[in-house]
């Protein structure tokens, strides 16, 4: 998407940094340990800026610690997905032929699988945990990355410098790592960012269903409890809104960063090759 502008990417970076620092320094920044109990259902006041939940935990502290899980799972899932996608796209695009047909066939099938329902089923059979969710998200979300990597690799492998490397008899491994990879990496990075965004939304949604770790509460899990314990019907907005807003803001941040990288990338391709 063009015309995002430098203001957008700066905002994105700043927002992301805020959450990153919150996650990193949660122990210092959180006013109370998230498991410590106070009077339950207190609205926001001087001590508890965001009030307390049904068990009396300070919501602000839960929120800050929650950033850790949300960030870790989102990032981890996106990492798995991107590496998988990169690998499959590379092999498919570089070797072409039978490998390409098989891998693209697999990709087509994966694209048709309803992902969230599948994760729900798997999580139903196994014990719910944020790591399981992250892993499966990673194993299911690689398809779009694989496709764009493949088309770019198909382009790059026909370029002069690659052809000459092949003529000179360099090994496939060398060509892929030294010639092709550097030329696709800036395509992959924006996609990685955008995958983090979708992974975070997926994790939040699945946690909302109760499939996350009750111990390490991600923001989605906080919302699960809030919804279950009647935060909505009792008007407890301080419990209901902040976790959701945090999810939204961090996804916005990541999307802004991803889109501005993407814009730079397309500009670069237009200018150079």
């Amino acid at each position: 998407m063009k015309a995002a502008g430098p203001a957008f990417s700066r905002t994105g970076l700043v927002l992301f940094l805020v959450f990153f620092i919150a996650a990193l320094f949660a122990d210092i920044l959180a006013p109370f340990p998230p498991q410590e109990r106070f009077a339950p259902y207190t609205p926001p006041d001087g001590t508890h800026i965001l009030g307390t939940n049904d068990l009396g935990h300070d919501i602000l502290s839960e929120l800050i610690f929650g950033s850790r899980v949300s960030l870790l799972v989102g990032f981890g899932a996106a990492l798995i997905a991107t590496i998988l996608g990169l690998g499959i796209g590379l092999v498919s695009g570089y070797f072409k032929g039978a490998a390409d047909h098989i891998l693209m066939g697999v990709t087509d099938i994966f694209l048709l699988i309803p992902r969230i329902p599948l994760i729900i089923i798997l999580a139903a059979f196994l014990r719910p945990s944020s790591w399981l969710i992250g892993l499966v998200i990673g194993l299911l979300w690689w398809t779009s990355t694989a496709r764009i990597v493949r088309s770019r690799v198909l382009q790059v492998r026909e370029m002069d410098f690659v052809l000459s490397a092949r003529c000179l008899g360099f090994s496939h491994r060398h060509i892929v790592f030294s010639e092709i990879l550097p030329n696709i990496i800036h395509l992959v990075l924006p996609k990685f960012m955008l995958t983090i965004a979708t992974a975070m939304i997926a994790e939040a949604s699945l946690s909302f269903l109760g499939l996350g770790d009750p111990g390490m509460k991600s923001w989605g899990m906080m919302l699960n409890f809030a919804f279950q314990k009647g935060a909505l019907v009792n008007g407890l907005w301080w419990w209901l809104l902040p976790p959701g807003l945090c999810i939204t803001l961090i996804v916005v941040a990541v999307v802004l960063i991803g889109l501005s990288w993407e814009e730079r990338e397309t500009a670069g391709i237009a200018a150079g090759g």
Partner: protein, 311 residues
């Protein structure tokens, strides 16, 4: 021809995957097949095992599975005391209503607004619109629903808090459906807004736009007479590809609004560990995704002359 074969193969693979999941999971295979919400005495258990074919070799079980699928038998749900197909069938229409109307409204809203945004030069209005839609796009659909429910139903009391209908009259159904449809519509509109905007921004630098001006067109007339069709072509296929993702979003919307569709069904089945229902829903959604993709393949040549055969 080749495409339909691919879809059939994909269906076969996914259905086969569905066969293996309960058998590959830890725990008692009987429980994995029936769900964990049943109470049966010891004697009947053995009979049940035999009846389900758990004592037969795997290939036989596989054939049994397929014969049941082809007879449209998705098993029995102990939680709901009914055949899975009936349970799902009762709820599916509501979900389809939600999904269908949201796709229609969301696609129209998103493509129109996105086209306007992409066509006009940067302005405050443009920026604000994009930031707003970006924020909606970044919200998980369940949270968007929570927000709307909280503000418009709980705080303002304009709409009911749950369900699909109270009295059954169509005005009542409309009131119940308004917020959920709005929720899913906004989510989709945001997505298509961003994509259409990008598409129009790309198209407006193309040679045929300059030539349209040279012929005497100007301003928005060019947008609607020339650019719109070109820019919206990718959206048609996108909607089909998105179908699984849209459907999943609808499930969450239904859960928040306590609607009588597949969303709450999947939630209840999850809590009760009712595997037959969960797997049944998975299979039904898969079939719909494949149908949506096949439909898009069929429709696309009708709108883009460049990919028509023999043309």
């Amino acid at each position: 021809m080749k495409k339909s074969l691919r879809y059939l193969i994909a269906l076969f693979v996914i259905f086969t995957l569905n066969f293996f999941i309960p058998r590959a999971m830890p725990g008692d295979p009987l429980a994995n097949l029936l769900g964990e919400d049943y109470v049966i005495d010891e004697a009947s258990l053995a009979d049940l095992r035999a009846e389900l074919g758990l004592d037969r070799p795997l290939p036989v079980q596989f054939l049994r599975y397929w014969s049941e699928i082809l007879r449209l038998d998705l098993g029995y749900s102990f939680r709901f005391h009914d055949r899975v197909t009936h349970v799902i069938g009762a709820r599916l229409p509501w979900t389809l209503l939600l999904v269908g109307s949201s796709i229609l409204l969301g696609a129209c809203m998103g493509t129109l607004l996105g086209a306007f945004s992409g066509w006009s030069r940067a302005s405050l209005k443009n920026r604000t619109g994009t930031v707003l839609f970006l924020s909606v796009y970044s919200m998980p659909p369940f949270f968007l629903s929570l927000l709307l429910l909280y503000v418009f139903a709980f705080r303002l009391g304009w709409f009911p808090l749950k369900g699909v209908y109270a009295s059954g009259e169509w005005t009542d159904i409309l009131r119940h459906f308004f917020l959920p449809v709005m929720s899913l519509t906004l989510y989709l509109a945001a997505r298509y807004y961003l994509i259409m905007r990008g598409s129009v921004i790309q198209e407006r630098d193309k040679a045929y736009v300059l030539y349209a001006r040279a012929k005497g067109l100007f301003g928005r007339r060019i947008l609607f007479r020339h650019v719109f069709k070109n820019a919206s072509l990718p959206i048609v296929t996108l909607i089909a590809l998105d179908f699984g993702f849209i459907f999943s979003g609808a499930l969450f919307v239904e859960i928040v609004f306590s609607m009588n569709g597949l969303g709450t069904l999947i939630y209840d089945a999850l809590l009760a560990r009712d595997y037959p229902v969960l797997q049944g829903i998975f299979l039904i959604i898969t079939v719909m995704v494949v149908v949506a993709n096949a439909a898009a393949d069929a429709v696309y040549p009708l709108i883009d002359p460049r990919v028509r055969k023999g043309v």
